[in-house]
Subunit: 448 residues, 2 copies
């Protein structure tokens, strides 16, 4: 009988996790955590301080920035006199944090944040109500060098190179291009709607986008100019040249071209191979929040996943909370969703269900020696367990096999008497004989 | 003007974090994270799999285990049709998890969990509404060897030895002792109230406890026997002998003595120095949840902090959710509270406000070489930043100083022309000259 049914019959409380919340089994959790720690480590070597802010925020803080859909998705509740809500992203808490602590922080302020956020969405495949975001942002006080925009793709490149899920491309554009173009066409007042429409290009195709633009009342010549702009393709150099020669007579546009050129120019020395980035004029990022460089990242062999790491430059992080002008640039990786998608398409391999490297199995009543061996292995940094339960030998080895523990050390009277112990490689079946003091070295050698 | 007042005057939203929620500045966060990662690493080398469960649970799941005070403290809310709540500890989610996934898990199941929990307590010093707990539990299927109880103090010892906050003592007792004693005195029906009263001994003193017991209607001879029992002191051997000779004619009591003796007997070989543990018959742990071994941990020089790591053995983890009998043993460290207490008494030292080891400062317009140097340092695993902002030299070095970045590499025309670069140790002022390719090695040598 299924656990759920059993519980129902016995009046017990159902234990199935709520839909939209992710809960992993040990082997999955280890893979998830490996992904998380790769991201964490890359953020660290680029000098981002890993912050943590409360999951609970004052509702008015969150609602100041949330709009439309997000506002409806918010988990909101009162406790005592407090009107509270769970954060729906990590950017609003960052804005609040930087506003509150500006005098105690040093700018440019480089912070990373890996944490859970909450959105009460209608549950659907790959959408979660509780999910991890992995963000970095660099916040300037008043101004922030464009070079920070160039460094961000270097971080993205390092993360996805280390994660090793196949070839990927970081698509880069600049919001000033489309904003400037629309200004030059005197369609600046429609720019938010137009940009949000262009952003759907990959999803719904050119014809649909054209239809939507017509429906928005965008004039024909403007639509034509937009599609001429979007059609620009080729190498980065070719595209930058084409943009310069497009004949758009607008200051914002020209600034966009120069910013984009400057960002692109430094990617090579920042370790981003030419295959891993491309100018892409179709990306605009839906949010009107971005004001300059924008990024999306896609797996070349799995474009259906959509962007797995996005972000961009914004002019002012926290105008709702402070008078201080705080420009910034940042990105976010939706780790929970990414994990779920990669699992779905079979790109994740699950193995061990424990961090344990060595299982020490006592075959003697006095377990002093087995304990001593385990402590020495732990001291050498090797995750180690001692099997204490009183079951048949077969079941002890089955425990190691089920969890995927790679090494077993059997400790019986003979071993203790002779001083010679055996490390069994559970995968190859190989047995390595060694003295008590050499077990850690032997295991480490095998792991290598 | 204070940020709060400014915001009020300008109609901006206040950004101060809600009382009872902890939010740290970068330098504090680094110390907090160091503590967290010490705990994480020790849990790992003992072979505990680090799980993660949703913060949001169904309210009925949480309320099945919560009682009295906890129930009132719970953050509860509805979303759509769901009656939801935020978890108030990590044990109830564990019980639900193990019940739900029992067929997919391998027992004994060793899991660690470091995560935030929520209690809407009245805010007071050192009490938080959102706080980290760091738990480990070993869950057996039907049975669980007592040796697991002996291993737990070894984990505690390793954690607090590595954390290095001064001498500590793990106080160990067994709930069967007091339960058996009360049974033998025919006061078994009052045992919950009596145990909860005894547990207050350290806080309120002997006379108060005596008064409370009288008020509970506990007979004089029982009270006398309880105090005779509690008064037992001396070395572990002496105490075990005294317990055996106490003349308590009760099976539960005798079992408690033998379990305690067995746990104590293995602590030496499990690496716990004699100074770091003691039998303490006054600890009983308030919860009637525990049924065998119980632990508390105190800093010898700061007993006023109370127990900083507690736990024990329980007979059945999840009776509310499953028919399966799941005995276990575990402990919990209240990390947020511990951090806050240690900070309060001045035991924490705050230094750097960034993970960055090296700041590369370009003094040239073409920043290719500075970027190249930074990438090589990152590749060598050294957290590195490039200072991009266009400010005076003084301010660039001030940035390094404010954040406590230990090394600075200045890159000017001369360095690029000569190929000789200088690593400046910001603490000693020392300058190390080296070739471009040797900067990482030079820094690593200095760090050592």
């Amino acid at each position: 009988m299924e656990q759920k049914e059993k519980q129902k019959n016995s009046g017990q409380i159902p234990t199935r996790v709520l839909s939209g919340l992710m809960e992993l089994l040990p082997a999955e959790q280890l893979v998830f955590d490996r992904m998380r720690s790769v991201i964490e480590e890359v953020y660290r070597i680029y000098g981002f301080i890993a912050l943590d802010t409360p999951v609970i925020e004052r509702a008015d803080v969150l609602l100041a920035k949330a709009g439309g859909e997000t506002e409806q998705q918010i988990y909101r509740f009162t406790k005592g006199e407090n009107d509270l809500a769970l954060r729906f992203d990590l950017t609003v808490p960052l804005a609040r944090y930087v506003s509150e602590h500006a005098n105690e922080l040093t700018f440019p302020f480089r912070r990373s944040h890996i944490g859970k956020v909450y959105r009460g969405e209608r549950p659907q495949k790959g959408r979660y109500r509780e999910f991890y975001q992995c963000d970095i942002d660099i916040i300037g006080d008043g101004a922030l060098s464009l070079m920070n925009d160039a460094e961000i793709p270097s971080v993205i490149n390092e993360v996805f190179t280390r994660l090793n899920f196949g070839p990927f491309v970081i698509r880069i554009s600049n919001r000033k291009l489309v904003t400037g173009l629309l200004e030059s066409l005197e369609a600046g007042n429609q720019s938010v709607g137009i940009i949000q429409t262009i952003d759907k290009l990959e999803k719904i195709g050119e014809n649909e986008v054209r239809g939507l633009l017509v429906a928005l009342g965008v004039p024909d010549n403007t639509i034509r100019a937009i599609f001429d702009f979007i059609a620009i393709s080729g190498s980065s150099e070719d595209m930058l040249a084409a943009l310069r020669n497009l004949g758009v007579d607008n200051e914002t546009f020209r600034k966009g071209v120069e910013e984009l050129a400057e960002v692109i120019r430094h990617l090579g020395v920042l370790g981003v191979p030419a295959d891993n980035y491309a100018i892409d004029l179709t990306i605009a990022r839906g949010l009107d929040y971005y004001t300059g460089t924008v990024y999306e990242t896609v797996l070349r062999d799995h474009p259906e996943l959509g962007s797995i790491c996005s972000g961009g430059r914004y002019d002012n992080l926290a105008e709702k909370y402070t008078d201080r002008k705080l420009p910034g640039v940042g990105i976010s990786i939706g780790l929970t969703r990414l994990f779920s998608q990669l699992k779905e398409i079979g790109l994740l391999q699950f193995g061990m269900a424990t961090p344990t490297n060595v299982l020490v199995v006592p075959l003697v009543a006095d377990i002093s020696v087995p304990l001593e061996i385990a402590m020495a292995l732990r001291e050498a940094g090797l995750p180690t367990e001692v099997y204490f339960e009183d079951v048949k030998m077969k079941n002890k080895l089955a425990y190691a096999n089920k969890l995927g523990i790679p090494f077993v050390v059997l400790v019986g009277e003979d071993e203790i008497a002779s001083g010679e112990f055996t490390v069994k490689n559970m995968q190859t079946g190989e047995q390595i004989a060694c003295a008590k003091g050499d077990i850690a070295t032997a295991v480490k050698k095998e792991i290598r």
